[in-house]
């Protein structure tokens, strides 16, 4: 059974003449415990699909299901206990005036947890930040550290599904490696299902087993990562993306 099922999803902004279709007729399915990647360039609509699932997209139609339950216009708190999201820009996803402790304790109390102190310590530990980071403010953290806090925040409600919106594209190469390792470790520890968006095929290839390629709002091809590696692609755009990204990695 799929954990995430999307059928014929359309997402648009504005009405009538001003209508912009961000996603057109998208369909995908993510199995429980699987890792699915959405790749495409900017404007392809990949982040919009994530936002639609989370309830952040204004107008959409089509069908979306998580764990067999169809999604409507609003999301409930139980949904947010099950599905969480990590945003792209670590410099924008933390409130500038809230310390790490405030961010995590607010999240935990919103979800009704009582043993907040223990949980905060454990969360910080899980994401590789020690207790010394607990009372820092975002401007006292590096990009990688902020992203770890964002991941800790997403893990606080003990979700089953994590949506990742370009989680490492704003980070340095060496930090990216740490965060990617963290994500794979967490996935194994907590049996998470991942839906990851990225423009970087190598990053997606590292984390995901299946990929959907998007161009201008449409999913043009869905394939496994093995197919991708073996260049067994069908759509010309997929081939083009593959070639562009391999061009930059010519090292033996």
């Amino acid at each position: 059974m799929s954990e995430i099922l999307i059928e014929d999803l359309n997402v648009w902004f504005g009405e009538y003449e001003e209508r912009v279709d961000a996603v057109k007729g998208a369909s995908l399915s993510v199995s429980k415990g699987g890792s699915f990647g959405l790749v495409g360039e900017s404007g392809s609509g990949k982040s919009t699909i994530l936002r639609a699932i989370m309830g952040l997209a204004p107008t959409w139609d089509g069908r979306m299901e998580v764990s067999g339950e169809p999604l409507g216009p609003k999301r409930s708190r139980t949904f947010y206990r099950k599905v969480q999201m990590v945003f792209q820009d670590p410099y924008a996803s933390l409130h500038p005036r809230h310390s790490v402790d405030q961010v995590l304790s607010e999240t935990l109390s919103l979800h009704g947890f009582k043993d907040i102190d223990t949980r905060i310590t454990k969360l910080l530990d899980d994401v590789g930040l020690g207790p010394s980071f607990r009372f820092r403010y975002p401007h006292q953290l590096s990009g990688g550290q902020r992203q770890r806090v964002a991941i800790a925040r997403a893990l606080a409600p003990e979700p089953e599904v994590l949506l990742l919106d370009e989680p490492t594209s704003a980070l340095d190469v060496s930090v990216q490696a740490e965060i990617l390792n963290l994500l794979t470790d967490l996935r194994d520890e907590h049996s998470l299902t991942y839906l990851m968006v990225s423009h970087d095929l190598a990053v997606v290839g590292h984390i995901c087993s299946d990929i959907a390629v998007m161009q201008l709002g449409e999913i043009v091809e869905t394939l496994t990562i093995d197919d991708m590696r073996a260049m067994r692609t069908q759509h010309s755009y997929t081939k083009h993306l593959l070639e562009s990204s391999l061009l930059g990695a010519k090292l033996a």
Binding site: G55, S93, S99, R136
Partner: protein
């Protein structure tokens, strides 16, 4: 659990520490670092100094004033500054101008404090709710704001006086009612910018409702620009109160309100310049001080400015 705070060098290092050890530590650290930034701005410190001085003299007016500000002595009227017992001179009824200025500072502070509390808070409420809710709430609240913005301050004050009688409280009310709309606009503009940020989305994804988002997430970010705007507006507020006093709509005689003092001194300005000029200088100094303070606060509080 908290670290000990030994010598002053140790205290400074503790406050500047990169890794705070408790909520209190973190907050104190932020406040201290902001204070250090502010301290570096000499003009702003000067402004702060003047204002603290104002508070002190207002509090200690009975102790500092050489004379009773209300006692009239017509044999001592219109004495120039430097006269025996009348350092800044005396007015047309023989009252010591210095004493009247000292007691008048209380009235100035009273007006300024009331307006500074009422107007921004009302504006914050209206602006953030309008900005966050959008739709009809936004339209209605902003049109109400526009209506109040359209009122000229003095005309509204006149209306109040006609309805409720002249006096300081009504003057304050009139000023507050015309002062809050710009704050609503600022708060709304900030809210619109903040509303779409990832950190707001992130907390929505934790199930936070609008009330929590507005009060805990949006207000802290709006407050700095409001504080800056309030201090920069202070000069205008003092002048508005002075203007009302000048027109006889604010503080009533014999109250030593600075604007009223200027009004009384108007007739004598050619031959006895000090009667109007002294209170004028007082207003000027306090307004300037607020401006400098506001400038300094903006440098410290403005989140857009990225100093390293």
């Amino acid at each position: 659990m908290s670290v000990t705070k030994p010598s002053s060098q140790g205290l400074r290092a503790w406050l500047l520490a990169d890794t705070p050890t408790s909520r209190r530590h973190a907050k104190l650290s932020v406040v201290y670092q902001s204070w250090l930034s502010f301290k570096g701005n000499h003009m702003a410190m000067f402004g702060l100094g003047i204002l603290l001085f104002l508070v002190v003299i207002a509090a200690a007016a009975p102790l500092l004033a050489p004379q009773d500000p209300f006692i009239q002595d017509l044999s001592e009227r219109l004495l120039p500054p430097g006269s025996e017992g009348y350092i800044l001179g005396s007015d047309s009824l023989g009252r010591d101008i210095l004493s009247r200025l000292l007691y008048g500072s209380r009235i100035t502070l009273y007006i300024v404090t009331l307006v500074a509390i009422i107007a921004p808070i009302a504006g914050l409420f209206v602006g953030t709710v309008a900005g966050y809710a959008g739709g009809w709430a936004d339209v209605i609240l902003m049109r109400i704001t526009d209506i109040f913005l359209a009122f000229p301050r003095l005309v509204l004050a006149l209306a109040f006086v006609a309805a409720l009688g002249a006096g300081i409280e009504n003057a304050v009310l009139a000023i507050s009612l015309t002062a809050w709309p710009p704050y609503a606009r600022i708060a709304r503009a900030e809210t619109l910018t903040i509303r779409g940020s990832d950190y707001i989305n992130a907390v929505r994804l934790q199930g936070a409702g609008p009330l929590r988002i507005i009060t805990k997430h949006i207000w802290p970010l709006c407050i700095s620009s409001l504080v800056v705007r309030v201090t920069l507006d202070m000069a205008g507020i003092i002048l508005a109160a002075a203007g009302l006093g000048f027109l006889g709509l604010g503080a009533q005689p014999p109250s030593p309100e600075w604007g009223a003092m200027i009004s009384e001194g108007r007739k004598f300005i050619l031959d006895h310049w000090w009667v109007a000029t002294m209170p004028g200088l007082a207003i000027f100094t306090v307004s300037l001080a607020f401006n400098l303070l506001g400038d300094g606060l903006r440098d410290v509080l403005d989140p857009k400015e990225g100093k390293s």
